[in-house]
Symmetry: C2
Subunit: 366 residues, 2 copies
């Protein structure tokens, strides 16, 4: 049976093609392409006809066709990690039940990436992968083929697959680690955590400290941990961390750590340093539920300085990162790599700053 195939064969999609524009304007598709891409080298006459046809038809070039032909998708892939079990609830009076959080840090960074990307006409293709995903390599590769360059949060890939993939596409890691083939953009964790640790250990004189981590393999979390541990050792203070203290960057994860610790009868240290602000929120919430006052009995600190940090019952002492700049920088670097410019540095470090508020034990009035 002969199928009815009216209107020049387009059935599924109603989008006009460059051929439609050319026909309406009475010129060749090459001319249409030219007025749309290079401003000069077209007679005003031709130009007007094309522009009018474009407006009339509501035409915009198909991204896939354009990308294939121009060898540029104008898309940068961004991959972030999220915790494995979709944020499992705590026990009975779980304040986080059926409550999902978004990771502020990621959102702000993505905003920074987007701001820079927009100036170059690029868009963000965003995907998140489970921290325990064993197909991370494959899924990253798939995303890579839809993009011109990749920005990878945290430590998404091992060195081997990372370097291998970098042979196919420009890659910038964010808060990861630099490799011979990829550039990394990060905050100065050592400096910020150093300041914070000394404030806690020397200014406040706390003798016992605990560290609630982020993902176990997260470079940011590890760096913060290491600096804190070293500072604690330097003052002879006791330091607790490890599996029992492992969080996941989310408030729910921080709350869980406290709940488990208390359930196991562990004595809490005088100060609990958290891998990031959201973890600190969860820790403070859990402590409050258990009737433990912050900061008089246990001091709590964060890292990031997200907007929410100052709206808390007890305003958060934390370390500020230039989150959006981190994202903007990451984009500028991939963009330059996409443009075949070899980046001058492999490890770009942005400064951090200690922000002292109340949760460390300092009074509101200083």
């Amino acid at each position: 049976m002969v199928q009815a195939r009216e209107d020049s064969g387009r059935l599924g999609t109603g989008a006009p093609t460059i051929y439609d524009v050319a026909r309406v304007a009475g010129v060749s598709i090459a001319s249409v392409s030219r007025v749309l891409n290079e401003a000069r080298n077209t007679r005003p006459d031709t130009r007007d006809k094309v522009l009018q046809a474009v407006a009339e038809l509501g035409f915009a070039p198909d991204g896939a066709a354009r990308a294939l032909s121009a060898r540029l998708k104008e898309v940068v892939g961004v991959i972030e990690r999220r915790p494995s079990p979709p944020l499992t609830g705590l026990e009975d009076d779980d304040v986080f039940a059926d409550e999902a959080e978004s990771l502020q840090f990621h959102d702000m960074i993505n905003r920074g990436i987007e701001m820079s990307a927009q100036m170059r006409g690029f868009d963000l293709l965003i995907r998140s992968v489970d921290i325990a995903d064993h197909q991370a390599d494959y899924r990253t590769l798939a995303l890579a083929r839809k993009s011109d360059g990749l920005i990878l949060h945290d430590r998404l890939l091992d060195d081997d697959p990372l370097v291998r993939l970098a042979g196919q596409i420009p890659i910038v890691t964010l808060a990861g680690v630099a490799t011979p083939a990829t550039v990394n953009v990060r905050s100065d964790n050592a400096s910020g955590m150093g300041e914070l640790a000394r404030h806690l250990l020397r200014d406040h004189g706390y003798r016992s400290i605990g560290y609630v981590s982020g993902y176990a393999d997260s470079p940011d979390s590890r760096a913060r941990h290491d600096t804190l541990a070293a500072e604690a050792a330097a003052t002879g203070a006791s330091f607790a961390s490890g599996p029992d203290w492992q969080g996941n960057y989310y408030a729910a994860g921080g709350a869980q750590v406290i709940d488990r610790l208390l359930a196991a009868g562990t004595a809490l240290p005088r100060a609990i340093v958290c891998a990031n602000d959201q973890t600190a929120l969860g820790v403070m919430g859990a402590l409050r539920r258990h009737g433990i006052d912050v900061p008089t009995r246990v001091a709590v600190t964060g890292f990031d300085d997200i907007a929410m940090a100052r709206h808390l019952r007890c305003q958060l002492t934390t370390v500020r990162q230039q989150i959006r700049e981190l994202g903007a920088t990451a984009f500028e670097v991939v963009y330059s790599m996409i443009s075949h410019v070899v980046p001058p540095e492999r490890d770009i470090v942005l400064p951090t700053r200690l922000v002292i508020r109340e949760s460390c034990g300092c009074g509101t009035e200083v």
Copy 2:
């Protein structure tokens, strides 16, 4: 001068093509494509050779080429609005200075979209446009051509351009308004705000109410406003809203409203209902700075029930939306439209629920 063009002409990108795989495997590109796409109809022999070549080369099909050929990009575009001036600061002791927030509601919704998208092999192409952007139409069209379908937050486009664009590509609006050509997914604002309003007006007996809005033209904000105004009128309570009360869904916007109101010597109502939670955070922060206690002198409420709502100095009374479900539903609908399935409903409404905590004036112990 003759340029050196080794390695089969590929200089810029190091990514292998289907031709490379075919050559290494000793088969045609059609066979490669087949084993990669349709599991059956390939001799195990051929299949093995191809798979090995694929693994060896680290091959994955180019997204643009695949999209052009298969007429499917496996990408859904998501566009959200952001406030015009990049969050201008307040005056002197501006607690939000150099502090940018991300919109929780958007992030959670995008997470919901992504979760559903991932199950179908789709990725999210995210772009945000200024609420005052006069080129929104054009920028939306451009994004549309990189996607198979569009999810538009809030009221991004006017009816006319919206319906026109819908002729080219499936469109679902989120918290927008349904049109003959587009499907809308939203929360039941009237029901949630009705409950909240009655709690404030009847249970607490407040006689004066103010409404800090979101973007002026936001359907969500308008619906909430209208329901609140009607309930206030029904009880004879005074109701304040309008230009002086216009926020922008961000904490900074909410804080600004309070600052301006107080600077103008306006007497505050007994209860301030905010368009969303983040606005409420800003309002509460501003009130605290001005020495006005919440909830004893002024009650404050939000909308959304973001995770942070319960970590506040004064826990937020709010209306819970099923944010991720909103996003997941939106994706499922565009997906079905992309698959040429006509959606059964044009206006999909998800339920909301009043969550009473402290900021409305209810004690902690109930």
